[in-house]
């Protein structure tokens, strides 16, 4: 096996994951937040590594 095969497996797995996600939880672009958080007046609600529930 060469690196090309491994890279292809990685990308196909990733595409599979995204496709499955699109079927299970289709996003709605009309509910999207403003393009930039800076200046939006909205509090960030995304998950991140330092997240600790109260």
């Amino acid at each position: 096996m060469n690196r090309s095969t491994v890279a292809l497996i990685t990308i196909l797995t990733l595409l599979g994951l995204v496709s499955l996600d699109l079927v299970l939880s289709p996003p709605n672009p009309f509910h999207a937040p403003p393009v930039l958080s800076l200046g939006s007046g909205l509090t960030p609600v995304g998950g991140f590594c330092g997240l600790l529930p109260n």
Partner: protein, 377 residues
């Protein structure tokens, strides 16, 4: 007499069509995500693609440079990391101070499990020779060890978050951080001290910073600042991987209500939403895809055959991958979420993470030959 054959010495023609195709695929993926999820999420994928292209294209890493510092006293990669973190600090801390409701730092508390987590992560990332971002980059560019480690890394992230509260209750300080311009100055002084220590410890012939790494450090800083401005939060890696497993587990009927972390309303909502609306997921996808595009851009890069490893090394890869994910969640981030973003947004835990993970890396470098990854010294 030396004769030259027809076409000899002439460089092969550049595959322009292939280059155009790769650029088209990158732009198309951003357009599709923008159309499906919204413009902000398309931008986040573009930023992730940028991370992947810079990390793979300019060979900027975290685990490798730490290994170089430990084994060869070569500080160039570490200096590049410090330079990049310093550049982000200059913009991120004042911005967060001026827009506290819209931008947040990677702040997290220091605790027993946090320190232990960082130490274990440092050791494990040296075993597989790929940090949080490095594992994604390596998998995308055809490294089999990283591809095998990645699902275990993601599973470990999910499990670490599952048990996170139990671990933090063992003893955790409140969140300590610096902010604003004064915080930026303190952070820059700290980074300078580390750079000087590295200079003192370095071999004289290694005391140089290649231009390639300077360009990579500055470009990475720009992308990290864009990440903060667009998403409202700093660049991270490990949370997104755990979220993928949480989504798969939930889809297969698993009950995560016993976990304090995964049963909060915010976590439930994120698991129910698309990963195309999760910032760390999008940058992770972008990093893998960006590295894949760079590897295809380079001629002959992907035709290399893979080195053969013994069974002990493959078992170690799976185990180390899981430990990386689990420990990174206890440590509130990996080399990106804790070290890079934590320090650049003023969190004390980023500094503690750096020390603990570097000590762990010293152990990991020693473990690699024992586990069958390379010839014993």
């Amino acid at each position: 007499m030396v004769t030259q054959g027809i076409g000899e010495g002439v460089p092969p023609p550049r595959p322009i069509l292939k280059y155009c195709g790769l650029i088209f695929i990158a732009l198309l993926s951003v357009t599709i995500v923008s159309a499906l999820a919204g413009l902000r999420f398309g931008f986040m994928l573009a930023i992730g693609l940028g991370f992947g292209i810079v990390l793979e294209g300019l060979r900027f890493g975290f685990a490798g440079p730490w290994r170089a510092m430990i084994l060869r006293r070569d500080p160039s990669g570490l200096w590049a990391q410090l330079l990049s973190i310093g550049c982000v600090t200059l913009f991120a801390l004042p911005l967060i101070a001026v827009y506290p409701g819209e931008l947040v730092g990677a702040s997290a508390p220091v605790g027993f499990s946090m320190v232990a987590g960082a130490f274990i992560f440092g050791a494990a990332m040296q075993v597989v020779l790929g940090c949080g971002s490095g594992t994604l980059v390596n998998a995308g560019s055809g490294n089999l060890v990283s591809l095998v480690a990645l699902p275990f890394f993601a599973t470990g992230s999910f499990a670490g978050a599952y048990h996170l509260i139990w671990w933090t209750e063992l003893g955790t300080l409140s969140v300590l951080s610096v902010s604003g311009l004064s915080g930026a100055i303190i952070t820059l002084c700290g980074l300078s001290v580390v750079a000087v220590i590295a200079w003192v410890l370095a071999r004289p012939e290694n005391r140089k910073l290649p231009r390639r790494l300077v360009i990579a450090a500055l470009t990475l800083s720009l992308l990290a600042i864009l990440n903060l401005v667009v998403a409202g939060q700093p660049w991270g890696v490990v949370y997104g991987l755990g979220l993928w497993i949480a989504k798969l587990a939930t889809a297969l009927g698993a009950d995560t209500s016993a976990s304090v972390f995964w049963s909060t309303s915010a976590s439930i909502e994120r698991v129910q939403n698309s990963i195309l609306t999760d910032y760390t997921s999008l940058t992770n996808i972008g990093i893998i895809f960006g590295a894949f595009l760079v590897a295809h851009w380079r001629n002959n890069e992907l035709s290399k055959w893979l080195p053969k490893l013994n069974m002990r090394a493959w078992i170690a890869t799976a185990f180390a991958g899981f430990l990386m994910g689990y420990s990174a969640r206890l440590a509130f981030g990996c080399n990106v979420g804790a070290f890079y973003s934590g320090i650049s947004t003023g969190s004390l835990h980023g500094w503690v993470w750096f020390v603990a993970a570097f000590v762990g890396s010293v152990l990991g470098v020693r473990l690699r030959p024992i586990l069958g990854f390379e010839a014993k010294a």
